[in-house]
Amino acid sequence: MYNPYQYVPGSSLVHKLDPRTKIITVIAFSLVIMQVKLISLLAAAAFIVLCSQLSRIPAARLLNTLRPVMPFFIFLFIIYIFFTAGTPLISLGPVQITSEGLAMGVLQVGKFILLVLAASVLTISTSATTLTMGLERLLRPINKLGGSSYDIAMMVTLALRFLPTLLEEMNNINEAQLSRNSNLSSLGLKGKIRSIVYLSLPLTLNFLRCCDELADAMEARCYRHGVRTFLYELHLTPMDYYLIIMVIITTVLCLIYL
């Protein structure tokens, strides 16, 4: 069965950090990494290795998260090495690989890979619920601008709850249609559009009823907008404050001097 969650429970130092600290670190890391040169790429890579070691995440688990992004990155790499002007390194008939192109390709694709790995350390070491709470706290300033971070957190939590049910529903619809001899892969152009419609229409309609029932149930239990409290509140430890300050100082220094 498909497992949508990347989270691996643990009790390491990284696991214990407040989600806000980790989110801020990843955002700061991504700001810095977009500026780095080829040599500092190694330093950034060392930072990721350090974090993954500290969090005791199995390396295979971490590298696994790269699999979905690799096709695009390889494609991007090819574009870089073949279509960057500069001194030719190797000539393959009409096309040539330039040294500038190779350096550019390694640098850019390396950056993106590290970016994805950094985010993966975050999501592997933090459960979806904790991350939602962390995001909610970070989004609090929008409450002053007329939005509601509580509403957003509630919607993300609801969507998290909907996902497995929707997947199951989708499989049911798929099996029901297969048992009635529908074959989505062998259809023509018009059939493809029809197959999209025949899958999404029942999926949406079946769920509308669930949504209405949920709304009634929540209203019956007096759900209302406004400030909300949580069963488990997040607490920033002195360690978290120390790290956040360190991260901000390092980021500012990197952005100035790189």
Binding site: I79, T132, L135, S148, V197, L201, L203, T204, E219
Partner: protein
Amino acid sequence: MSASNHVSLRSMIYAALFGALTAIGAFIVIPLQPVPITLQSLFTCLAGILLGSSVGAMSQIVYVLLGIIGLPVFAGGKAGIGVLLGPTGGYLLGFIAAALVIGQIVRMKRNPGLLWLILALVAGNLAIYLLGITQLILTTHLSVYQALIIGLLPFLPGDIFKLAAAAWLARMLYQYFPFGRQAS
């Protein structure tokens, strides 16, 4: 008080539903050459048409947040804030903009016909491409021409299919979303 301050509970739940549906869309793969179709942007379009611009955009924010907290709901099973800040992240921001644009255009008419829906959908898709390709160029330093080759061409056939399917679906589903129409 702005209207977005008092989103009804029902529209919040519908936004959560369409956020989840957009996420599910990433798992529905329909084979097509050269790039297979996944259905996220279909549900983005539907959210814009059926929920209106603000709730529709909210549903797409929920979708992006689902990806940020680590669910593999971005195209091809990608996840994490790294994708949002990376080269293809602009398309995700484009989803939010598309729902806004589509919602706005559809609401301009009391009873939008098929042509008007298609116009709105085309505008929404343009918003996705515009933001997506802008971020692609900014992060990768590719030329505009190169960016169009990898960021636009492969997706065009699939998006035309999705556009047709979205218009068809929206016509059938429109009657079930009464609150979307009276909201301004």
